[in-house]
Symmetry: C2
Subunit: 117 residues, 2 copies
DNA sequence: TTTATATATGATTATATGTTCATATATTTA
DNA sequence: TAAATATATGAACATATAATCATATATAAA
């Protein structure tokens, strides 16, 4: 086992080999981390909570979240890229809404963890 | 409504007021974002996947994740602080394991989202 | 009690990320 | 067509964060 980064005499070689085999591909791990990054910011979390209630235009989101329109737009772009929100245009107004059934469930699980402490 | 950050003529005042009332407290939003930050890093995600299989010592985690012992220790500290892992000492060896039923479920939901694209 | 080993941690550095500001784009209205 | 408005976006800046390196701590073994 010369490909071990960190040698230590207590290493459980068979355990390491076994668990290594069950590890997802690096690409998936990376994508998962990227996905959770979207939830890892207060502003985006507020946007998500607001959209959990109903579809909203950018202007209304800015007022609910109490942030500038620019900051909201930047964050909505990230949410869009991660396929967490979808949008529809009505004239010059753009309405955003959640685009995944998992989102509410994930946030709920997170909240359960927080509130158990 | 003079406390609006971003004024726009299309603002739906009643909608904004209504949704604002349902928003969780800023503290909770902040804690939630902090919680999800823990999942938002490849190294920590690998550690979580490894620990989903079984309890492991630091040395073994380092070898499974293919990173230095120091990097793993730093990340385990973060996981510990977030109450995602617990540990037990056996001599000079420290064994870590997952400390929350929600973790596997959250990761699973995230994976479902990723794999639906 | 000296030496070896497993883990933890502080400081540093490089990179990533969120906000702000200015401005661009798109659409409506006058 | 010109002016107004809703949203998007690029650049700059400040902050956060992960890895590395050196070293500290704790425990076991010699």
């Amino acid at each position: 086992m010369e490909d071990n980064i960190y040698e230590c005499t207590v290493m459980h070689e068979d355990t390491v080999e076994k668990v290594k085999k069950t590890m997802p591909k690096d690409d998936l791990i990376y994508d998962l981390a990227e996905f959770f990054k979207v939830f890892a910011d207060s502003t985006r979390m507020k946007i998500i909570y607001a959209l959990m209630k109903e579809e909203l235009c950018v202007c209304d989101i800015a007022n609910i979240v109490m942030t500038t329109q620019s900051a909201i737009s930047h964050q909505l772009r990230i949410l869009k890229q991660s396929k967490l929100v979808k949008y529809r245009k009505e004239g010059k107004v753009v309405y955003y809404s959640l685009d995944d059934e998992h989102i509410a469930q994930i946030v709920k699980k997170g909240r359960e963890h927080i509130e158990e402490l």
